[in-house]
């Protein structure tokens, strides 16, 4: 029987990996994927606690998170597509128009 702390550790590791991906990758799409990974890690934590506290609210929360994540992916990818059409690049470091 797996102690809950193991799940939490796993979640932490996945979250860190996702954060690293966000920081270290230049491709906008890969950054997005890393963000999804972070969200998933959080979902795992929520499910773990839902079971730990014998409360179904955690799982409901996860469902809502998934809904929002899906919406966010749709919009975000649309933005990337639109930007790509103008600038022919998905390189985040080159998307620096909003600077001083």
């Amino acid at each position: 029987m797996v102690p809950p702390s193991f799940y939490l550790i796993l979640s932490a590791i996945l979250f860190t990996l996702g954060a690293a991906g966000v920081l270290f990758r230049r491709n906008a799409l890969v950054m997005f994927m890393s963000v999804e990974m972070m969200l998933n890690a959080v979902n795992l934590t929520l499910i773990t606690y839902s079971r730990l506290l014998a409360n179904v609210e955690g799982q409901v929360f996860v469902l809502l998170v998934m809904a929002v994540a899906a919406a966010e992916v749709a919009v975000g990818l649309a933005i990337v597509v639109a930007y790509y059409r103008h600038k022919e690049t998905a390189d985040v470091d080159e998307m620096d128009l909003l600077k001083w």
């Binding site: 029987m1 797996v2 102690p3 809950p4 702390s5 193991f6 799940y7 939490l8 550790i9 796993l10 932490a12 590791i13 996945l14 860190t16 990996l17 996702g18 954060a19 690293a20 920081l23 270290f24 230049r26 491709n27 799409l29 890969v30 994927m33 890393s34 999804e36 990974m37 998933n40 979902n43 795992l44 499910i47 839902s50 079971r51 730990l52 014998a54 179904v56 609210e57 799982q59 409901v60 996860v62 469902l63 809502l64 998934m66 809904a67 929002v68 994540a69 899906a70 919406a71 992916v73 749709a74 919009v75 990818l77 649309a78 990337v80 597509v81 639109a82 790509y84 998905a90 390189d91």
Partner: protein, 172 residues
């Protein structure tokens, strides 16, 4: 038994995560992400959250990743960059902060996890089959009715937004 499954799934998930962030090709990153999601779905099953697991597979693995792959293929960005370009300060920041972050989280979480060891019996009991779908459904339509409705609004907005943003402008 559970422990074995857990470790298999956990290791594969971590490996897939590494793959996501370390791959040069965006398509391969997407595929590794798919593997990651499926592992997580398995882990949810271990938690007796069947509905959530299924939804994970359908939505994340089935829709989100597919969407990602579509866009990657559409834009032709699979070879977006030569290698992960790290500016010098990113290197340093990453090396310092990353582990620090991880340690921090672990430090915070472990006492929580281990401190609750006496509640293991409860944990065991949760393994008994429950009607997950019914529970979630009941909760969604009573206590969480408003968030539920709002979530649908969010999705609607997202649909419209995506259509508007990605539309080809008619020039001239």
């Amino acid at each position: 038994m559970e422990m074995v499954l857990f470790f298999i799934l956990a290791i594969v998930a971590v490996a897939a995560g590494l793959g996501v962030i370390a791959q040069r090709s965006a398509v391969r990153s997407g595929l590794f992400l798919l593997v990651n999601f499926c592992c997580l779905a398995g882990l949810y099953l271990l938690h007796n959250a069947q509905f959530v697991a299924l939804v994970q597979v359908i939505i994340y693995a089935g829709a989100v990743v597919v969407l990602f792959l579509f866009v990657i293929m559409l834009l032709g960005t699979e070879q977006a960059e030569e290698s992960p370009d790290l500016r010098k300060y990113h290197w340093i920041a990453g090396l310092l902060l990353g582990p620090l972050f991880l340690i921090g989280i672990l430090w915070a979480l472990i006492p929580v996890g281990t401190g609750l060891a006496p509640a293991a019996t409860e944990w065991l009991q949760a393994l008994a089959p429950t009607d997950n779908v019914r529970e979630i459904g009941a909760a969604l339509l009573t206590d969480f009715a408003i968030p539920f409705e709002l979530a649908s609004v969010v999705l609607l907005v997202a649909i419209i937004g995506a259509v508007v943003l990605a539309k080809k402008r008619l020039e001239g």
